[in-house]
Amino acid sequence: MRGFLCIRRIITLLLVFMLVAPGASAYTVEQLLGEYAQKADLSTRTKKESAGYLIVFTRADLDAMKIKTLSELVNEIPFLRYNENAAGLSDVNYTSFQTNTFNPIVVYLNDRQMVAPFSGNGFQLLGQLDMSYIDHVEVYLGIPSYEIGFDTAATVIKLYTKKGYRENATVVSSSIGSRGTNDTYVYSGRDLGNGNSYFLYLDKRDNKRKKVDFYSPYFHKLYTLSRNKYTYNFYGEFDTGNFRFESQAVFGKMDNFIGQSWYMTVDKNRTDFRYLYGGIYYTSSDDSWKASINYSFTSSDNTQKSDGPLGVYLKRISPGWPGIPVTYNTLESKLEEKLSDVKVIKTFKIKNDLFMFGVRGRYRGFNFKKNQTDNDITLPGSKFSREYVASGIFEAHHMFNKRNMVVFSAKLEKHFVNGGITNFSTYGGRVGYIFNSNRWTFKAFLFSGANAPTPYVLYRQNLLGKKRVSPQIASALSAEITYRRDSSSYSLLLSDTRVSKAIYFSASGYRNAPSITWLKSVSFRYRRDFDPYNRLYLNLWAFRLTDFRSKRNLFGGYIALFNRIGRFTLYNCLSYRGLYGSHRPAYNLSSTLTYRATRNLVVYLKGTDLLNRAITTDYYRFDPINRHLTVLKDVPVFDRTVWLGVEYKF
């Protein structure tokens, strides 16, 4: 009850503040410049309304939030509940005893899909990394157009890096937070004239997470489980107008929380990883040709030591016998992953029609260089180690007049895999109608497509000697209506998705679900711009998943306020997630107070999970030999953290 009163008081204060703050400021040239920045962000940038249901986090939003990680944004994205898996990695779809069978979120960094060749999940790669080199973020709900990227999902997050020609500065920033968490970055970007510009960024982050204490009654010992992450992130870009050269290098060490330990009795679980990337992008002056070539290499060394077992292997005693199960308590593995792709897109514009054709060839390969247990036993691996994917897309837009438009898109993909796995094809298609007037926008899309199983699923299935599972097939019908009046907008989104052959993990390997999985969702969004610096966002949504095992209802929403009073900028956001299984309702209050001391110096104070009531997760581990279940309940996936930071522009 006290918690409820506390939240009510905070909401009342926020609402009072919201009503009073805009009236406190007078219109100035600064505000006209603010309007200029906002309009430039939202119109001349990459906003593509016809591509899907779009939410934009502008540079001004991200600056006011002083956003630290992508995971923070998930609180403001409908139908998602931020979560972390047993390795302490970001994973919105995490469920105990399940692995990722498809990617619920596809993340792009500019035009590069962030994808791990083995696990396939880009959100895991970027979820807890720094965001200070990101200019703005677009979130597409539903299955967006292939114009956004060849690989789509229910949620597509596009991160756009800062551009040298819009920076024209060298910035150094440092912050220190709770538990000794600290972060320092420096970036420099310049317009070099004649359409050339560069942007260079380097960040060092020591993300000290809250430790989780776990007492094992089985081993009569207290274990401290860690999810700390220590990373260096370099990003560089050189832009000539037509050509863009991109490179990135991430080096890090991370503690992998529970890892594979059957009893959560972790002595050591550490991964050292390296990610290297280079890419070249070409865009013709009239935007009719686009081409890119990308290469990335990831290497990770993982060491796990546990008092209880980490896994089991079959020790062969004599030929013809299946062997006896032997458990192991240490595991050292080294995984190398490579990803490269080449892409060409041609667009034709003929009067009111637009046609787009694209082809892409992609290679992804991975190799366990080491997978060694106690007594130098090397665990057996699957023969599946590489995949070639050839993709072709087609998209057409037809405008009947200025207000009415229809879109059609299709994709065909052929997967060539090794290791004795049968090659397979996937497809996708989408039709849509868009109506747009000064006050009203209506969009409706019908999508149907097959999702390929992730390489991890193919690998595990191949290792278990099982037949490959079929791609799961999703069909979605969705519609959104938006009404705009003066500086307010109201949107209602409805969606109904049917998934057949959904892939899930069972005791005997991966399988396709015997019946249809239904996903129904509704979202209401409201935005009010009092002026360029004072605005309010509100979102309420509900999501229902029904599959052959259970029914799950998820409710959520948030209210966010951005205000400026004199030299102070304020950001306050209260988000809610509720009724998800047995978890208590979660509230996350995040606030940032920024003070612009001089033209060049900014000081800020930022807090996340200030109510200490954010999302928690239960973790389960099972010993299949002794049939013992270990449970770790109510582990917070957000840590209450307060940062004090300073930023200086040279």
């Binding site: 219109y27 100035t28 040239v29 505000q31 006209l32 410049l33 309007e35 200029y36 920045a37 309009k39 430039a40 119109s43 001349t44 540079r59 001004a60 600056d63 200019d135 800062k162 020609y165 819009r166 920076e167 024209n168 500065a169 910035v171 310049r190 317009d191 070099l192 004239g193 003066d486 500086s487 002026d531 360029p532 522009k649």
Partner: protein
């Protein structure tokens, strides 16, 4: 009296710009008008726009008339001030580009992107050279 008219017009433009939903091009036009009237104390200011990328379509509004020759202008708006020749170099020059502002001593002011935001700036030395006194609402944008 002119100053009062200019200030009132500027204030009206500002309020209108915030209260009514306007496009990016309209905002730029209004900024050009404010800058032009701040530098040139005339009811109608003739502006030469050398940076075609700044405004896709020029429209004679808010007391601004766009001219085709820089020699006919009261104010010159360009991205590369050093490319100007002859008499044009002696007129008030305003730049739309960070590089143009930093690489030349000619501009009286600039509007460019920095840290992802538009920055408006006036150079004190050149304002004094041209005997320009800015209205109160723009004094904060003057740098040495």
């Amino acid at each position: 009296m002119k100053r009062v008219v200019c200030s009132v017009a500027g204030l009206f433009i500002l309020i209108a710009s915030v209260c009514v939903a306007i496009s990016l091009e309209q905002i730029k036009l209004q900024l050009v008008s404010i800058i032009a009237h701040a530098i040139v104390k005339k009811k109608v200011v003739k502006v030469y726009l050398g940076d075609k990328g700044f405004l896709a379509k020029t429209k004679n509004v808010n007391g601004v008339v766009f001219v085709k020759q820089c020699k006919d202008a009261d104010l010159i708006i360009v991205s590369k001030p050093d490319s100007l020749r002859g008499l044009c170099r002696d007129k008030p020059i305003f730049v739309t580009n960070y590089r143009g502002y930093r690489s030349s001593n000619l501009p009286v002011g600039a509007l460019f992107w920095q840290k992802g935001r538009p920055v408006l700036i006036f150079r004190k030395r050149n304002l004094e050279r041209l005997h320009v006194s800015l209205p109160k609402n723009l004094k904060d944008y003057v740098v040495d």
